[in-house]
Amino acid sequence: MATVTRTAKDYRTSAAAWWCPGCGDFGVLRALQEAAAKLNLAPENVVLVAGIGCSGKIGDYFRSYSIHTVHGRTMPVATGIKLANRNLTVIAAGGDGDGYGIGLNHFIHAVRRNIDITYIVMDNHIYGLTKGQFSPTSQQGFKTTSSPAGTADRPVKPLQLALSAGVTYLAQAFSAYPDHMAEIIAEAIQHKGFSLVNCISPCVTYNKVNTYDFYKEHLVNLDEDPDYDPRNYDLAVETVRKYDELVIGRIYVNDTQPSYQDLLPGYSKEPLVNAKLDYEPEHWQQILQEFA
């Protein structure tokens, strides 16, 4: 088994991706497949936990164990899976609405627990699957079917939120640069602890503001900045704010924090799914005596 080398193709399913031509999600899928190949992950040891949205369909296209949750619940489902079998590579993927709207609470709590999963948010600043309402990351004043006169809400800032929640690996990538994204995703998967890769993944159908061109013009690649040190938390906070989150690359990396699994008292070092369940009646009799 150890000698198999895999290519991106090994992570393709038989289902044809139905995203609109040009959709940023193709880039994310490709990057994920390449990252998996780079790490030569055995598909059966990977669980992809997908959200609901156009983005969430990625679960049908990436070849691994794949579980499509209900809207907004990738984080706790992924947590349950990781705890059930700590040897699995658990990757969650979903939209900005899924993760920063309905699912934001779980996201923050997963970050602070530092559970060892990788979260790929496919951020298109819109609700794609429900046909183009504004999302939590949509910029203020954005006009959509649910905000014909422009939104009143200021956007959430996922990178800043993740930093303030204590994220231990934070990066941003762009669908137009899938190789860079693949590199980052591979690194995030290898990170011990919670990693967030916010993937800017334009929706070509409903979002005419946050377009490929817009990002190509504005994104700053921190990986190319020799002065940028992703181990410096204060610098990360400052930089993300300075560029109003329009950065890509490694933003913050901290590998000194133990992950949730390593801190849980008594938690099995072996996959919990293999734990012994059957005990002799005598064993339980002993516990019963505590009630005498």
Binding site: T13, S14, A15, A42, P43, E44, N45, V47, V49, K57, G59, D60, R63, S64, Y65, S66, I67, H68, T69, V70, R73, M75, P76, V77, A78, T79, G80, I81, L83, A84, N85, N87, L88, N105, H106, H109, L264, P265, G266, Y267, S268, E270, P271, L272, V273, A275, K276, L277, D278, Y279, P281, W284, Q285, I287, L288, F291, A292
Partner: protein
């Protein structure tokens, strides 16, 4: 000398009243009495009335008794609230100076004796010791000796400092002596017949359910604290680490059940425990578990609703939601244990059913079952058989890299499942409608087949005790109930039989899928049928009517209680007698 007796201690919350009750109950249990212990408390931390009631008997008891024989009252409020429930000739021990306590008007034939329990404790240097003084007083009243209680103190305070054990023993003895000197032998009628000192066990339903889950191989609990279910998490968090397992205190109930479903999908036996408000929050993910066919167990310890309701009060009003909540046509299994002991077995069963049928299983407790404490003779651990259901074997899996048919159409409706990590078992698990391999599809034929597959999996499970029936074949009166009312209904039946009325008692244990045939058969053999439940909307009666033709309104009468307290046997017997006697019908027809 008494075969049976009810003892109560009352006072303010946060002052250790519970401890008095728990220590006495433990001691009595060790002496060989059968115990039913029930705590009345409010939704606040310190202050406000609380009481702990212990029914002590020489034979198993399943619920509270209507009359109090001994009341240890730490304040006037306890007297005001409880004096009306005193048995004729009952004894109230009041903490405090002579002449200060007042019996409320109409309290009847009750004797009030003052013992300055707090003062004694103060003398001993620690006012909280008043509880132990109270235990000593109680020992004297019940004809026990301090030595009968001391082993419990040894166990309880051991390791918390030798001083503590000694101090408590001293308080115990001082209470004992104070009572002896205040009462002499004038209260000896309250002495208990000696217990048989056989080894038995005292536990709450929450503990029994948690224990059952552990024994069944539950290795992950994700939950969010809520009265009266938190105790399940608390018990598990003490045990699971010894088995390599884990308790996740989630950020909310949606996260809790989602984590459980994730773990269940990945092959670990997992559960959550909650009460009404949390259970309502779980409705969406409950449906999701059904759709991806992930085994999972949800213990719902019901409390008084709707909404936040009365968090510390007993009720059985989540039946509708447990059986019919969540959108869409969602099959699920709902098991309602009939006793505290049965909470253990039902929890074990729940995990087996969840795995066998790849479905969410709800275990329906109610506050009285969850927090009530009862003597359990023994637990038959040989009944703990772990059946993981159909997990795919290597040979079932597709080694050629093709899609594994996770949702294969089988005759039984159950399809062998693969677990993450198994080569060849790759598939998509999704809450969207899907085909046999898990791929999303809206094909009409597939849809119908997939629905039918899910619906037939356990439409007629046979391997569950669905109804516990006690009584004659063709009773004149049939009493039907569920959950913690078992004790009251059982005693009501005994009383009716004693009055010469042939009576049966059916306790419904499987709420979904509903045992329609069995219930219909029972209904059709009885002349009068009464459904007694702790809710206002007659939810069990409604469910019976939904499924059983023999349940027409004229015959099916309901007895409802929803003031937050348990039924007393008389509250069943009286309406039955009134309504089967031709004059005046008061039991309510199903509305």
């Amino acid at each position: 000398m008494r075969n049976e007796l009810t003892w109560v201690v009352g006072g303010q919350q946060g002052e250790g009243i519970d401890t008095t009750g728990e220590i006495l109950a433990s001691a009595l249990n060790r002496l060989g009495y059968f115990i039913y212990g029930y705590r009345t408390f409010g939704s606040r931390i310190k202050g406000g009335h609380t009481n702990y009631r212990i029914r002590i008997a020489q034979r198993p008891v399943y619920g509270i008794a209507p009359r109090i024989d001994v009341l240890i009252a730490f304040d006037q409020d306890s007297i005001n609230r409880l004096a009306g429930e005193m048995a004729p000739g009952g004894l109230i021990i009041f903490n405090g100076k002579a002449g200060r306590a007042k019996l409320p008007p109409g309290a009847g034939d009750v004797r009030l004796v003052e013992v300055p329990m707090l003062d004694i404790a103060r003398e001993l240097g620690n006012p909280i010791m008043k509880n132990m003084v109270g235990v000593g007083v109680s020992a004297a009243l019940l004809g026990l000796r301090p030595e009968d209680i001391e082993p419990v103190l040894d166990d309880r305070f051991r390791g918390k400092g030798g001083n503590l054990v000694a101090a408590n023993k001293e308080a115990l003895r001082r209470g004992y002596e104070a009572a002896r000197s205040a009462l002499g032998d004038t209260a000896d009628v309250l002495h208990l017949e000696p217990g048989d000192r056989r080894r038995r066990y005292l536990m709450t339903g929450d503990e029994a359910a948690a224990f059952g889950a552990l024994a069944a191989g539950c290795r992950l609990v994700a939950a969010y604290p809520i009265t009266p279910a938190s105790e399940i998490m608390h018990w598990m968090v003490k045990k699971l680490p010894q088995y390599g397992g884990v308790v996740v205190q989630a950020e909310d109930e949606i996260a809790a059940i989602s984590t459980v479903v994730g773990a269940g999908y990945a092959g670990v036996r997992a559960m959550t425990a909650t009460s009404g408000p949390g259970f309502s929050l779980m409705q969406e993910v409950l449906g999701y578990a059904g759709m991806i066919e992930a085994p999972c167990v949800i213990i719902n310890v019901q409390r008084a609703g709707p909404s936040t309701g009365m968090p510390t009060k007993h009720e059985q009003s989540d039946l509708f939601e447990m059986v019919m909540g969540s959108h869409g046509d969602l099959p699920r299994i709902v098991l309602a244990p009939v006793s505290i002991e049965d909470c253990f077995y039902a929890a074990v069963e729940a995990f087996n059913l969840a795995d066998r049928y790849q479905t969410p299983v709800i275990v329906a407790l109610d506050l009285a079952l969850g927090l009530g404490k009862q003597t359990v003779e023994d637990i038959d651990f040989s009944r703990v058989k772990i059946d993981r259901g159909q997990i795919a074997l290597p040979d079932d899996l597709n080694w050629d890299g093709g899609d594994f048919k996770r949702y294969r159409f089988t005759e039984s409706g159950v399809s062998p499942r693969s677990l993450p990590g198994m080569p060849g078992g790759l598939h998509l698990a999704t809450g969207l409608e899907h085909d046999e391999t898990g791929h999303i599809t809206e094909d009409r034929t597939n849809r119908v087949r997939m629905m039918q597959k899910r619906l037939r999996k356990f439409a007629d499970i046979k391997d569950v005790e669905a109804v516990r029936y006690e009584g004659p074949e063709n009773p004149h009166v049939l009493l039907i109930g569920w959950g913690a009312s078992y004790g009251a209904l059982r005693e009501a039946r005994e009383r009716l039989e004693a009055e010469g009325i042939s009576t049966g008692h059916a306790h419904v244990r499987l709420l979904a899928p509903f045992p329609a045939d069995e219930v219909n058969r029972l209904l059709s053999r009885a002349t009068h049928v009464f459904v007694a439940e702790n809710n206002a909307l007659s939810q069990l009666a409604a469910l019976i009517r939904q499924h059983a033709d023999a349940a027409d309104k004229r015959r099916l009468r309901t007895i409802n209680k929803y003031d937050g307290t348990l039924f007393l046997p008389a509250e069943i017997v009286e309406p039955v007698l009134e309504s089967i006697t031709p004059v005046g019908v008061t039991a309510k027809e199903v509305g």
